[in-house]
């Protein structure tokens, strides 16, 4: 997956960086990702993509895949589990245009 689309100015990058540092903001985000995204200065397209767990849309807007992976863990959790990684699998499904899991 190429980095040709990468847009360093995309507001969602700053939000992911803040979420990695701010536990309270992270807890709010876990409860209502779209609400936190809306008040963090993200564009309507970015907010809609977060609301819909549409990682492919965020990639096409210019989000860096590495931070996209971190966003998927912020939404789906960081526990790897015993056999699969829900966050990674949801991300790859979205990038392939398959239905993203509901939560």
């Amino acid at each position: 997956m190429s980095l040709d689309r990468f847009n360093p100015d995309l507001a969602v990058h700053r939000l992911v960086q803040e979420l990695k540092r701010d536990r309270i903001l992270r807890e709010e985000f876990e409860r209502d990702p779209a609400a936190v995204a809306e008040r963090s200065g993200l564009s309507a397209a970015e907010v809609a993509a977060i609301r819909g767990r549409d990682f492919k849309a965020l990639f096409e807007l210019g989000m860096h895949p590495f931070l996209l992976g971190q966003l998927s863990r912020l939404i789906f959790g960081t526990t790897e589990g015993t056999a699969t990684s829900a966050a990674a699998e949801a991300l790859v499904a979205s990038l392939r245009g398959e239905d993203a899991p509901a939560s």
């Binding site: 997956m1 980095l3 360093p8 860096h64 992976g69 971190q70 960081t78 526990t79 990674a88 392939r96």
Partner: protein, 292 residues
């Protein structure tokens, strides 16, 4: 003058500490043994300073203002950052003694017009980049002062392969000229091998590329290494992740090009990353050989 006594490279991946039980026991045993062996060699080298080249995973700089390289000048380095503790399965934070004085000397010596080199301090977020070598090689227990060097390998534009190799040579020269006489110094690059974190090929590893890269490093032919192991080739083997191997190129430059000894390689699908460890065994390499 200070001397370079150790130069090695090792992959970092969250699964190494986060979910090692998913890996076949024999592979895990061999991998653990290789990490432990590098820890043993660090101890045997009786280092006064270990420079750890960590790629920054988009945590410590704005993505629109990312330096090429940055020395972390904190008195201590605490990790992993809180959000990464579950992911890495490291719930007790470690604390490494820093090396701010050595970092400032190297920063002053290495400032140049062709590199965006910065100093970094304050609350630096460390994830698997510093945590995997620390936990797997026992760096906290060794007590050797650590100077992290954050390296941009993933936020475009990144420093290119030939620059990285050449900068490694500059780093060695700086180590040998500005650090206190008698200081024993090591360099450990962390990152790679092939992986595509967050991309459509997240679950895939390019084993052919990894084995070719290891063969090039082992051959000790820098020109061939830099001709074949380009940034584009790394990106083709896994975008946004495989180019962490550019940190290995800094180490290779500091080591004088090799050859390096491969301690371990396995394409560990459960980690979504090729895992490799190499040692340039520099203790027997004279400064004059590197200068040529």
């Amino acid at each position: 003058m200070a001397t370079l006594e150790f130069v090695a490279a090792a992959s970092h991946a969250p699964g190494v500490t986060g979910w090692p039980d998913k890996v076949a026991p024999a592979t895990r045993q061999e991998m653990d043994a290789a990490y432990h062996e590098l820890g043993r060699r660090i101890r045997a080298s009786r280092l006064d300073l270990l420079i750890v080249i960590c790629n920054d995973h988009g945590s410590n700089f704005p993505l629109d203002d990312h330096p090429d390289l940055a020395f972390v000048l904190s008195e201590t380095h605490v990790g992993p950052a809180e959000w990464f503790t579950n992911w890495l399965n490291v719930h007790t934070q470690y604390s490494l003694t820093g090396a701010p004085e050595a970092g400032r000397l190297l920063f002053d010596a290495l400032r140049a017009d062709d590199v965006d080199l910065r100093e970094l301090a304050g609350e630096v977020l460390f994830d698997d980049n510093l945590t995997i070598p620390t936990k797997m090689m026992g760096l906290a227990e060794l007590g050797v002062p650590v100077l992290p060097l954050m390296h941009n390998t993933m936020i475009p534009p990144v420093p290119r392969e030939r620059f990285c190799y050449d900068w490694g040579r500059r780093l060695r020269t700086a180590v040998e000229t500005v650090l206190p006489a008698g200081m024993r110094v090591g360099i450990l690059a962390t990152g790679g091998m092939s992986h595509e974190p967050g991309g459509a090929r997240y679950m895939l590893i390019d084993e052919e590329f990894d084995r070719r890269f290891l063969a090039l490093v082992a051959a000790g032919d820098p020109e061939r290494l830099l001709t074949e192991a380009t940034y584009e080739a790394m990106e083709a083997a896994g975008a946004g992740g495989t180019a962490e191997l550019q940190s290995w190129l800094i180490a290779a430059g500091a080591a004088g090009g090799g050859p390096a000894e491969t301690l371990f390689y396995s394409p560990i699908l459960e980690f979504r990353c090729g895992i490799g460890l190499v040692d340039w065994n520099v203790a027997t390499t004279s400064p004059l050989e590197v200068a040529r």
